[in-house]
Symmetry: D2
Subunit: 422 residues, 4 copies
């Protein structure tokens, strides 16, 4: 585990150290980028790296520094420019136009980061209140989310460039062959779901509550590229009976015939990665699929997607290990270790689509004020993903963690874990 | 209860009588329409009345008659023209272009109905197999769904005409005042959900299964127009903090400031009904609201929408009575009877939005073949509504019935029932 | 020449007879249509036949009857419903929603026509003022324009129906072979352009004025289907160098690969006509091409489109004869007679795209008031077409007549006449 | 006149000096821009400054160097990346995605310029053929067009930034008051139009040919902001009778109520300029208006726009002087000198919309090959503008010069000159 991950896990014992570690991790991710790379926005869903650098800083300035006596804004215009979606804070620069902000420059945004860091660290050293500490800790987990988005947004941007630029050179191990899927079973019964205990969790991970689960089994690993190609070769993208109605409409409208970033050249498949175009490796977990593709694949494979409760039930006691951003591979890879005791790769590699719509847990109440806009207002029409990916910081993940995206979205590092009724 | 409703409930004892009753009920609904009224399509979501008349007939021809020896199509082109979404059957005339089918004429479609009716009735009299009877029964419940759509689609069409035509003259009783809301409570515990027993149910209502419910309470009646106007007057449509993010984006984009069909004239509100423009009655249940509006209202009212399981739990033992299409009011109205024993108006008046995404119940499997496309493939991005409306046939409704629409849709007779945690 | 055509040409000697003739000609065109046929609208550019019937009547009510003492509107709502684009008159029902007006019914619109006809005829008999007569005459020429639109709009509507309904049975003669194109030359020099003399003309046909024309030659007949197929087979739709930039963008975006209404079946070309689907006849003039296709064809053929002045110069002294709507063929056909003296088929068969943008002639001033909106405000981004088509009334045509459509539009009976520099 | 302008005018005597002068003028314009500023694209019509720098270089590489023996591409991918619209050359990177090209970097594009410059200059010194010299000269005039676009595209980009960045500090003189408009008259008669003589001209400026012009008069100067505000205050944007039909539809759809870049703050008007937000100066020529606004203003003012022939007739003998890019004002300003002899400011300040559609002159033939795509294929649906602007290089302008844009476009430095019939 890298320093930033370890430090964040020890936030309560040394907040300043955790703060510095997470903040510098973000800068390290942005380090290979030119000012041009950091400023462009390739689609409405994505943001420029510079915007991520600034917005995560805005979070600390707005929710911590602004409340301190004598605060003066670093730049008054930033309050609007780098507000993402907090209506309680005020107006927002329109999301689709983030790529037009050539000013402030990348250098100015770095100065903004330094300015805010200095003040936050000074305040932490003076001794922050418990409420302030809670917001700082939230801000660090927030920043980790943007670390992942910085990578996935950049990947999308670079994929739009016909020269297929590389963000980083891979150092991935040569792949072995993926083991055959076997199945791990759970009995039916009442289960407790949601975050519990002392560590940090987002509001949407609670309250902890009971559910009744029917007996089910989970696949021992995610679906691989090779398996997904079998689905494609069996006419997967031409057979409406395999698809949700919305999915089939999307396939037709968008002319999908493979996962995002796949391209065929002279009969062989390549995929665009953060290291540029690569030959597709059959044994890697398939990624950059929508919920629709995940669901169609599962139907084709006579299986289904797990519910988020089933996934959480399976992951509950497992160590949080796997191919996270710290590996620097930045691409899903076959499991390095497997066991018959439990499914492999629940953590890391690919976010696993579940069949669960993103909804409030029973008795969920968002906090008062702007922070209450963090999660709750997105609880419609999105689906839950679990487990983190090769672009997620390891310390960011836990069994109760709920990520969420819309069914057609594919630019995240999403993958497929199969489940079955028993 | 009208003849068609009663007859359908006794399908197993007299299928032919049930068939004739439901089919003629559809024709009675279309009776006031001119050929022009029956041919137009006002938006992609809606279909012309003529199309409903033909498609419901197509269902019987395709899934029953076509399988009989010696079958000859009434008109070979109808197989495509009146296929809604059954990819297993083959191509479909594009949905947004249903209003361009000036041929076949309304008279020809009526002849088509008579032709198919004659053959279905003859076959029922000769003695149909259990499988065939099951499809006929499904076709009748399918036709009832289209009876409701015929009315809501027509209402939308007429609302687009500046002359505000009336489909029917109302005979609604003068409204009394709506009683103050009180709350009915349920304890937490394990509950069984889903259809059970002998009567007809759609596949999506099962399998019956256990869930764990936390303690909750339900409002004694739906939200009224008067209450909804208080929300509006309190800035409901201008306060983003009350809305789901997707909802707020929709309000901005669509410039919503009131439910569908409401219009202000000289400071007073009117609403378009199937009887033309009417002064808005404060005590009527509010209707033609999206899920977003329902959710925002609930947030404003310090409550929430019920889950579909909570709703079903509350409705389980209640008689299926209320303001259904048989009242001929065609508009939601205040409860005629209330009691302290249970919430009023769970059935009829307005479809009640729930906070539950439309998803498969545990172990749900759609049937093989084209009939399997009926429900399962729509299980993404839609929300469940419960209880039926003033445009629903009474015999169509039951406690386990799951209707579903997309969150922004407003042209159905949708309303709001509040719930609260306990 | 049919009665209506002849009568209109003698308007000044018997206005009432001309009025009755033109009005009844419109009704004769609508006679084969059901109420459903007459109510539907297949695209924004087209209008329902019922709307044409009503709007042409609205013209007389609004611009003649409304100005008479004691006038009472037939129906007050019609003033908005059937106003096309006269902002001076007031609001308009939105054009894309004309197909949603199932009320008033076709029968009511016919009653509206009878009501207005009775009053106009009575007024003409009482003796109308010269100004009133001028408006009535304009209204009749206006009505003739809508007679053509009624047919072309209906053709588009029927083409959207997979059953390919026929409006009328053709009685076209068996085609002979089209003669080889030869060229008719004109010297350079000063020419007078624009309407002159006594008969009716629209305001946009004047003032008569001088232009300087370079020497040119015109093809002896329009381009045929057979010639156009040679262009297609030579890769016409795949070679950007043949196209205007806007045209090529349109070809790509709309995926055009043939004229509108053409479809290939088992290697043979068919075309949709007002008599239903027909085998494509090589010797018929090509029609339903955009300006872009006309221009690309001309470039391919080492020629160009004529300017409207060149066309007018060629047509000036010719008798106004040809395949007009009176032939009842309703489809362009090879010339029945040709001569070496002048180009054939300048009148009738197909509207001939010119390379001239629709612009005001020198010193053009639209009239004051609502009538001034008739032509002048459309003088941007449209192109001039000349000569009339097989759907145009013969008495409607003259050498100075300027029709105009946008370059990508194809649903009119448009064709191609080649020209060359000398 | 600056060195680049003077040098280009002497191209035939010293091509290398002219080449160097124009090329370095482009770089001087881009000098104030950061790499971020140079990479962003604010709308489909505009291109990033970096793209302009590269495309103008691509022109020389593709049309000159590539034809020389032993040529090796600087970077093979540039052939597609920086091809604007030359289908004859091959594929093009999609125009709307030019802003996503963060690679090649600005530094690499500068290296590309240096690389090509070195080779072109070496070739010119070795002695280029007349054909090659003609292409180099064309390339320099092409580059001047992109110099202007670089500025107007950048202005649009900066206008999208809420912080209103400045490209350059203005050094404009304090405005005096604009003189009252008077009128300069021309008799009717035959005129010769189009380029003649020795200097450079684009293909679209010829062949020189005769036209007949009616008598007309032209306003002595362009319309000012103050005059345009009077139009606005007289309800200009709310009165459909003043507008072309397409213009009125655009006003409604785009919600226009003032020229582009105008904004009202506390009752006073400001306008965004290349020096940032400025108070609107009543005496400056109005700019950033569409053809529709120019036409509506002219109608309101009981005048009309001139034809391009009228404009050329008026400008023919005048010295090419005025507020061009060399003034470094980068904004239209009142005339510094006026005279009763001829209209002022025909050159410079603002491009003057004409009422003439952009069309080929008689006998116009584009050249063979890719260069033939330069002008001819754009001759549909665009309108001619004349005279150059404060962002045009002075040596780029001449009386026969024809600029062209679509009627709704407003981001060029466009203005209004009135004309009247006599």
């Amino acid at each position: 585990m890298r320093r930033d991950a370890a430090d964040l896990l020890r936030f309560s014992s040394d907040p300043a150290r955790a703060y510095a570690a997470v903040r510098s991790a973000t800068e390290a991710l942005a380090e290979p980028l030119s000012a041009e790379d950091a400023a462009a926005q390739s689609m409405e869903d994505a943001s420029p790296a510079k915007w991520h650098l600034a917005h995560t800083t805005w979070f600390f300035e707005t929710f911590v520094l602004e409340k301190l006596p004598g605060h003066r804004a670093f730049d008054a215009s930033f309050r609007v420019l780098f507000n993402s979606y907090y209506n309680t804070v005020g107006e927002q620069h329109p999301r689709p136009r983030r790529g037009l902000l050539t000013r402030p420059s990348l250098a100015e945004v770095r100065a903004y980061r330094a300015h805010v860091d200095e003040r936050i660290l000074a305040h932490l050293e003076r001794g922050a209140s418990p409420d302030e500490l809670a917001v700082v800790e939230l801000g660090l987990h927030h920043e980790q989310q943007h670390q992942e988005l910085l990578l996935t947004d950049l990947k999308h941007l670079f994929s739009c460039n016909p020269t297929a630029p590389a963000y980083a050179a891979t150092r991935r191990p040569t792949a072995g062959s993926a083991k055959v899927i076997n199945w791990h079973a759970w009995d039916d019964g009442e289960r407790w779901i949601g975050h519990e205990g002392e560590g940090f969790a987002f509001d949407n991970e609670g309250p902890r509550h009971r559910v009744w689960l029917e007996a089910f089994e989970l696949a021992s690993r995610p679906v691989t590229n090779g398996e997904y190609r079998a689905f494609m070769e069996d006419g997967g993208y031409e057979r409406p009976e395999l698809w949700l109605a919305d999915g089939w409409a999307t396939v037709q409208r968008e002319q999908w015939s493979a996962p995002l970033y796949w391209q065929e050249r002279d009969g062989a498949w390549e995929t665009f990665t953060l290291s540029g175009l690569e030959e597709l490796r059959a044994e890697d977990p398939v990624t950059h699929v929508s919920l629709y593709e995940a669901d169609a694949y599962a139907t084709w494979a006579c299986a289904r997607l797990p519910s988020e409760q089933e996934w959480e039930c399976a992951a509950w006691n497992l160590p949080i290990e796997g191919n996270f951003v710290e590996s620097d591979w930045l691409h899903p890879s076959p499991a390095s270790r497997t066991t018959d005791d439990h499914p492999a790769q629940l953590y890391g590699d690919v976010w696993e689509w579940t069949r669960s719509a993103y909804a409030p847990y029973p008795r969920f109440q968002p906090p008062e004020g702007a922070i209450g806009e963090y999660n709750g207002k997105f609880m419609s029409s999105q689906m839950v993903l679990r487990g983190g990916s090769c672009a997620t910081p390891q310390s960011h993940m836990r069994a109760s963690y709920r990520n969420f995206f819309y069914p057609p979205q594919r630019w995240q590092v999403t993958g497929i874990r199969l489940a079955r009724d028993l």
